[in-house]
């Protein structure tokens, strides 16, 4: 079942095997105390203490002030924008990610390997670089913006631009979660379905799609979670207009620059809780995906 793809996919989408192939009690090898101890200490220093710091800061804010901070219309607008844009980008990535994975797995054409490798570009390219490159392309004078401007479509410096940036940074997730499943699936199941008289569309909707669903949802959730917190690529393309193209992370930044630490903390806390819920959902989805693949 496991091929190379499983063990060295990009971060954020690798499925841990919860019970490794050879289940043995492994407490015989040396170094358990040392490595686990170091892991826990380092985890506490870099991740847990900072998290505790922000939670503590959030608790210290008076409830009234906290509520005022997060119910401010500008904040609510930023939440709505972040949420909807991330959702839209994740949806686009789900559709085109499935298409890309399908084409890369099932068809052989010149340049396929190169494209396959390129899919990971958004993981490796700094977000600021992506931001300025996309802005240049989609600005009214850019390669694509120029074509769309006469039609009255504005992408850069408009909400649409945010969706474009978030689509870019979330692109690899769906492809990389669906790809290994599709490779495992092989063509045999389809051929069986076809030999039983199913049409091509029936085969897809009844045989292939249900198999892909867990990984598709996992990829969607990962892309959504990543898009929700994204900052670097969006600030360049969005134009950062309050109430219109201002995403939540940017608003945190603005509050910080105004030394409004309480406001920044309140906005961040809401986003953190949402992120953790998403992480939980992703964990459950991955468990489902692993189970359905066994």
């Amino acid at each position: 079942m496991t091929d190379g793809k499983d063990s060295d996919t990009m971060p954020g989408i690798t499925l841990y095997s919860r019970n490794a192939a050879r289940t043995t009690q492994r407490n015989i090898l040396p170094g358990f105390g040392l490595t686990l101890g170091y892991t826990l200490v380092y985890l506490s220093l870099i991740v847990l203490i900072p998290l505790a710091a922000i939670s503590l800061a959030a608790v210290k804010i008076e409830p009234g002030q906290f509520w005022a901070a997060i119910s401010d219309p500008r904040v609510v607008a930023s939440y709505r924008l972040s949420f909807i844009a991330a959702l839209a980008a994740a949806a686009i990535n789900t559709i085109f990610g499935l298409l890309t994975a399908w084409v890369l797995v099932r068809y052989r054409f010149a340049g396929r390997k190169l494209l396959d490798a390129m899919v990971d570009l958004p993981f490796a390219l700094p977000t600021a670089v992506a931001g300025i490159a996309l802005t240049t392309m989609y600005a009214p004078t850019g390669w694509i913006g120029r074509l769309l401007a006469p039609l009255g479509i504005q992408i850069a410096f408009a909400p649409l631009g945010i969706v474009v940036a978030l689509t870019f940074i979330g692109l690899p997730f769906v492809v990389r979660t669906v790809q290994p499943v599709l490779e495992d699936l092989g063509t045999e199941t389809e051929e069986t379905a076809a030999s039983l008289g199913a049409s091509r569309i029936q085969t897809f909707t009844r045989v292939i799609f249900p198999e892909l669903l867990p990984s598709l949802l996992t990829g969607f959730a990962l892309a959504f979670a990543r898009a929700l917190g994204e900052y670097g690529s969006v600030v360049f393309i969005s134009g950062n207009m309050p109430m219109r193209t201002e995403i939540a992370p940017l608003l945190i930044m603005t509050k910080l620059e105004q030394y409004d630490y309480a406001g920044a903390t309140a906005i961040a806390m809401v986003m953190l809780v949402l992120s953790f819920l998403l992480l939980l959902a992703i964990n459950l989805l991955q468990r489902w995906a692993t189970r359905s693949r066994q």
């Binding site: 043995t24 009690q25 015989i28």
Partner: protein, 354 residues
């Protein structure tokens, strides 16, 4: 060096893999741990090796007279051959075999020339001297198995432990390696324990066989002992094919051999007679101890003729194996009615659950 384990228990979570197991392996002996998968045989082997530690309440593991219970695998100096060989995939065959010598502390480490000499003579022993520069993936399963053995022997262990040594090989290679291993053991006279689920392998190769089932040792003995005098139905059943004749009442007892059945079953205790297929005698003449049966199927190809019969009274199936000569004498045909007689039946009470 002898091995002695006393009252070993091992639980994984809520699963008891071993329940109070005791076993002694004498110096220079070759012992098989035989049993179905999940019976605890591999766990016992790994506990002897120090790759697994028993539950705290267990008794000690002794090598000769030394208590090694608290030593880990590194200090026990046993040779262990893993089921999947576990060769180091990034090292060639020479380096694999040399590993155990090279990781020794500097003051007891042989010098380069000695290591080379030792590894070469071991590769000679396992007939792989020309493969020294190859990598594990370039070898066949049987060759890998021999490398694993050479690697384990390189550290000159006093005890050799093998986990399903032929498990992953095909039937023919298996047989060859089996004979080869026996010869090797006889030459080196190193105390050895191997795990197997194949009764033929255990009976053919081992000096003594320990039969395990659900975490307990059911019987320990020479191959003849466990085969001819199984301690219970499980051992009887596991070591070969068997026909079971129920003797619930007097009438049934009469049918399977009145005198013996009466002697074997005290009072009205329910019993069953266990008979191996080659102990079913087929004849054309009836007497007081025969049961009428009809021939259902005949498979006469091979060293023995396998006859499937149906008892005329209970319609139960009976499997018999007779020599080809006997088969020709009887001139059996499918559908014919004959008489069967039970030789060497063993009686066990029926409440025994296999």
């Amino acid at each position: 060096m002898s091995i002695q384990v006393n009252n070993i228990s091992k639980t994984f979570g809520s699963f008891a893999a071993l329940k109070n197991v005791s076993l002694t392996v004498n110096d220079g002996e070759l012992v098989a741990l035989l049993g179905p998968s999940g019976c605890g045989k591999t766990t016992l082997l790994r506990i002897i090796a120090g790759l697994e530690f028993p539950d705290p309440a267990s008794g000690p593991v002794l090598f000769h007279t030394d208590d090694v219970s608290r030593q880990d695998a590194r200090r026990r100096r046993v040779g262990f051959v893993f089921q999947h060989y576990s060769l180091f995939r990034h090292m060639n065959i020479f380096d694999n075999v040399a590993f155990g010598l090279r990781v020794r502390p500097r003051n007891v480490r042989p010098n380069k020339a000695e290591i080379k000499h030792r590894v070469e003579s071991l590769l000679n022993l396992v007939q792989l001297e020309r493969h020294a520069a190859l990598y594990p993936w370039q070898l066949s399963g049987g060759q890998r198995q021999r490398v694993a053995l050479a690697r384990a022997l390189a550290v000159e262990p006093k005890i050799l432990l093998l986990d399903e040594p032929f498990g992953a090989l095909d039937a023919k290679v298996r047989k060859e390696l089996r004979h080869w291993l026996r010869r090797l053991h006889d030459e080196m006279a190193i105390t050895s324990v191997f795990v197997t689920h194949d009764q033929e392998e255990a009976l053919e190769l081992a000096d003594r066989v320990a039969v395990l089932n659900t975490g307990r040792i059911e019987q320990v003995g020479t191959p003849e002992e466990v085969y001819d005098h199984p301690a219970n139905p499980f051992v009887f059943n596991f070591l070969g094919n068997v026909n079971i004749f129920h003797c619930r009442d007097k009438e049934a007892r009469q049918q399977v051999g009145l005198a013996q059945a009466a002697a074997a079953t005290t009072g009205e205790k329910v019993a069953a007679a266990y008979v191996r297929p080659h102990d079913i005698e087929i004849s054309r003449a009836a007497d007081s101890e025969t049961i009428p049966a009809r021939v259902v199927h005949i498979a006469a190809a091979g060293p023995v003729a396998k006859i499937q019969l149906a008892r005329l009274d209970t319609r139960e199936m009976v499997h018999a194996e007779i020599t080809r000569q006997k088969y020709r004498q009887l001139n059996l045909n499918t559908g014919e009615s004959v008489y069967i007689k039970l030789q060497n039946p063993r009686y066990f009470s029926e409440d025994y659950v296999i």
